[in-house]
């Protein structure tokens, strides 16, 4: 049978064999955790503790700074030693709360438990915000905002994202296998909030065990598991909607414009913890892999653990890493050092050796159109990049530069090694900056 998918895309070696069969392990607690106040898209949280304060696990240490913002919680119990700018995965120094763990790891009073059947939609949404829940696929958009569609945009379909199309990452895969109940509980809460008619769970066909498990458990909860073709970027929101629901999100639009909300499976598990167990988002599953890591693993990590600590929990490094990436190799963020903290968006940590990151010299465009074939947004990467390099931003905009989802398929497929996605990203920034200026 031909499996569902979107148009365009490509298939990089998925390299999931290193960790796909490794059960989730708890990462031991370090002595010090650095919790950034900026861990989501939107306004950063504002610190509400100061140096010298004692905090308990789960206590609010940063309050939400606006509607598109969520609070930040203490990942363990201990003493606040500093509230100051610290190196952040974005490459800048951003405000963070530094906690010295006392080793007791004692919980604060849990938030009152909610019964999803009895609680109102507003109560459930409020809890999701108060628990600091953001999209855990890596984009870290505050979840309660996504769950508050305006009344003129009715939602009829919920799509759960268990695709994990980035190479190396297996955190969602293990979560679906080992903690499927948490995911299903979270899905039930989402179904209640959105009042949807249909619920789909998309999983790439290279995880047959997860498909089987979720399909058997989901059948009696009206969750339809959809196996999807193994292709990158199958897990991108618009591509997933196109594959599963056959709907096209308009240019500049959002999934809610076509009646769909997409949530990552990790987010569902966090929602279940928040509602049924009264626990905020202070931990997540992350894959640590790459040829420079001694024992690749799936770890349950606390927010605020340094990347160095995660690597040490995997037996350290085999070689000096030539490249450190937080997230997946396609869309993850290169890091300047291992001395930055893991955040809510840390789905993986990859350490590559020098042989793995050879850079080919740039050549001329040979008009082969491989980037055009690969582009899942169906725009013309080569033309937009050429305009961007000539600073002809009007022309780049006319060709749909803003529709680029920055998946990197164009750069990956280019035989001339042109920095296509970088050029388009440059154009996007220039266009939006000019729009802001007016």
């Amino acid at each position: 049978m031909r499996m569902k998918t979107f148009s365009g895309g490509l298939h990089p070696p998925d390299s999931k064999e290193f960790t796909a069969t490794r059960a989730i392990e708890d990462c031991p607690l370090p002595e010090e955790l650095v919790v950034p106040l900026s861990q989501h898209i939107g306004a950063p949280a504002t610190a509400c503790v100061q140096a010298g304060d004692r905090v308990r696990k789960g206590q609010v240490i940063g309050e939400a700074g606006g509607f598109v913002s969520v609070p930040v919680h203490a990942p363990t119990s201990g003493e606040v030693v500093a509230v100051e700018p610290r190196p952040h995965p974005s490459g800048r120094a951003l405000p963070a709360v530094v906690i010295r763990a006392d080793g007791e790891d004692a919980w604060d009073e849990p938030m009152p438990l909610l019964d999803p059947a009895a609680a109102t939609v507003d109560e459930l949404r409020g809890r999701i915000r108060d628990a600091g829940i953001v999209g855990m696929g890596g984009a870290t958009f505050p979840t309660h905002v996504k769950l508050s569609p305006p009344p003129e945009k009715p939602i009829d379909t919920l799509i759960l994202n268990g695709v994990e199309c980035e190479p190396y990452l297996t955190a969602d895969h293990r979560l679906m296998l080992e903690e499927s109940e948490r995911i299903l509980d979270g899905i039930a809460i989402l179904q209640k909030i959105l009042g949807v008619e249909r619920t789909f769970l998309g999983i790439e066909a290279n995880k047959p065990d997860a498909i089987e498990r979720m399909a058997s458990l989901g059948a009696d909860r009206s969750i339809e598991v959809v196996p999807l073709e193994v292709k990158y970027p199958q897990g991108a929101e618009k591509q997933l909607i196109s594959a599963i629901a056959g709907r096209e999100v308009p240019s500049g639009g959002l999934p809610m414009d076509v009646g769909v909300v997409v949530q990552n499976v990790g987010t569902c598990a966090a929602i279940a913890d928040a509602v049924l167990r009264g626990r905020p988002l202070i931990e997540r599953i992350a894959t640590v892999a790459g040829a420079a890591v001694k024992q690749p693993k799936n770890l349950r990590i606390r927010i605020g653990m340094s990347l160095r600590h995660l690597v040490e929990a995997c037996g350290g490094t085999l070689a000096e890493p030539a490249k450190i990436i937080m997230g997946g190799p396609m869309m993850g963020m290169a890091q300047l050092s291992l001395d930055v903290p893991a955040t809510r968006g840390t789905s993986g940590l990859l350490l590559f050796t020098a042989e793995q990151v050879l850079k080919r010299p740039e050549g001329p465009c040979i008009r082969c159109a491989r980037c055009v074939q690969a582009c899942p947004a169906r725009i013309l990467p080569t033309s937009i990049a050429a305009y961007a390099r000539l600073e002809m931003m009007d022309e780049a905009e006319a060709l749909g530069a803003l529709d680029c989802i920055e998946c990197g398929c164009c750069s990956y497929s280019c035989p001339a090694a042109l920095p296509l996605v970088q050029s388009i990203r440059h154009a996007k920034a220039a266009i939006t900056a000019r729009r802001r200026k007016g």
Partner: protein, 290 residues
């Protein structure tokens, strides 16, 4: 043959008459002053005045009474010429020149990471705030060089923008394009400048740059009128720039330079008529190394 010549000639004649008539009938009336102003403007269409080209600026001066002193490339002469045409008093325009407030090229300033992306400062700045460890230093990828309509900017081999004071007209295009505000405008007559743009504390600056301002106050002590220190960065008070000389010699990191002694070492430009004695730069190097 004759028929062909007459008919073709006839068509030509008719067309010429029609075109001539149309040109008179539909002629756009141009204010004499407007064309006179266009003649005295530099004609570079650089946009420094804020209008899209010299013609638009001339029109704005005539029709909207816009100030005649906006053409920085033209200088005082142009301002006076426009004022004469318009019959108004010429305002005193202080001729400005762009200054790169950085000497931290790839040899003298450290990098956070190796940047392999697009050769464009604005693209590089988006990646973790740019590869240069100094948050205010020149990224050296030449966006200003490409933006300069007068060819006044050149990049040195070690990645530093250097501006020719002779070619710079003060149009500010480089100022607008630089993502780190390294380039600033200064009065043309001032030759002493603090060539640093880092607001970090001295200890931090020393870690990443050999020639950065460490806010040690020595320049202020030697010439209190001519310098101010704001936010850990010294700046020349240009109203008193002629008193700034002593600071140049006393600056321990040599981040204050007098362009009359030539441009900073490694530059492609030299001030005209000044032969930089090699011991000035050699001395600078010794002090930095020590």
């Amino acid at each position: 043959m004759i028929a062909a010549v007459t008919s073709l000639g006839g068509i030509g004649l008719l067309a010429a008459l029609a075109l001539g008539a149309a040109a008179r009938k539909f002629a756009v009336e141009v204010d004499q002053r407007e064309s006179a102003i266009i003649d005295v403007l530099s004609g570079a269409n650089c946009g420094a005045c804020g209008y899209p080209g010299c013609g638009a600026y001339a029109k704005a001066v005539v029709e909207d009474g816009v100030s005649p002193s906006l053409c920085t490339p033209g200088g005082q002469g142009t301002v006076e010429a426009i004022a004469r045409i318009m019959g108004v008093e010429a305002e005193a325009a202080v001729p400005q020149v762009a200054v790169v407030r950085c000497q931290g090229d790839n040899r003298k300033a450290k990098e956070k990471y190796r940047y392999l992306g697009l050769a464009d400062c604005n693209a590089a700045q988006k990646l973790a705030d740019g590869p240069k460890a100094c948050p205010g230093g020149c990224l050296g990828l030449g966006s200003c060089e490409r933006a300069c309509p007068f060819g006044a900017i050149e990049m040195t081999a070690d990645g530093l923008a250097v501006i020719s004071r002779e070619k710079c007209t003060g149009c500010r295009k480089c100022v607008a394009v630089c993502p780190r505000q390294v380039i600033a405008m200064a009065p043309r007559e001032a030759t002493v400048h603090v060539l640093c743009n880092s607001h970090d504390k001295g200890a931090a600056v020393r870690k990443y740059c050999e020639v950065g301002c460490i806010a040690c106050q020595i320049c202020r002590k030697t010439a209190p009128e001519a310098y101010v220190i704001e936010d850990f960065l010294a700046r020349v008070v240009y109203e008193h720039h002629e008193q700034a000389g002593p600071g140049v010699e006393k600056c321990p990191t040599r981040c204050i330079r007098d362009f009359r002694q030539g441009y900073p070492e490694g530059s492609s430009f030299r001030a005209p008529g000044t032969d930089v004695s090699s011991d000035v730069d050699a001395g600078a190097n010794e002090k930095v190394a020590g």
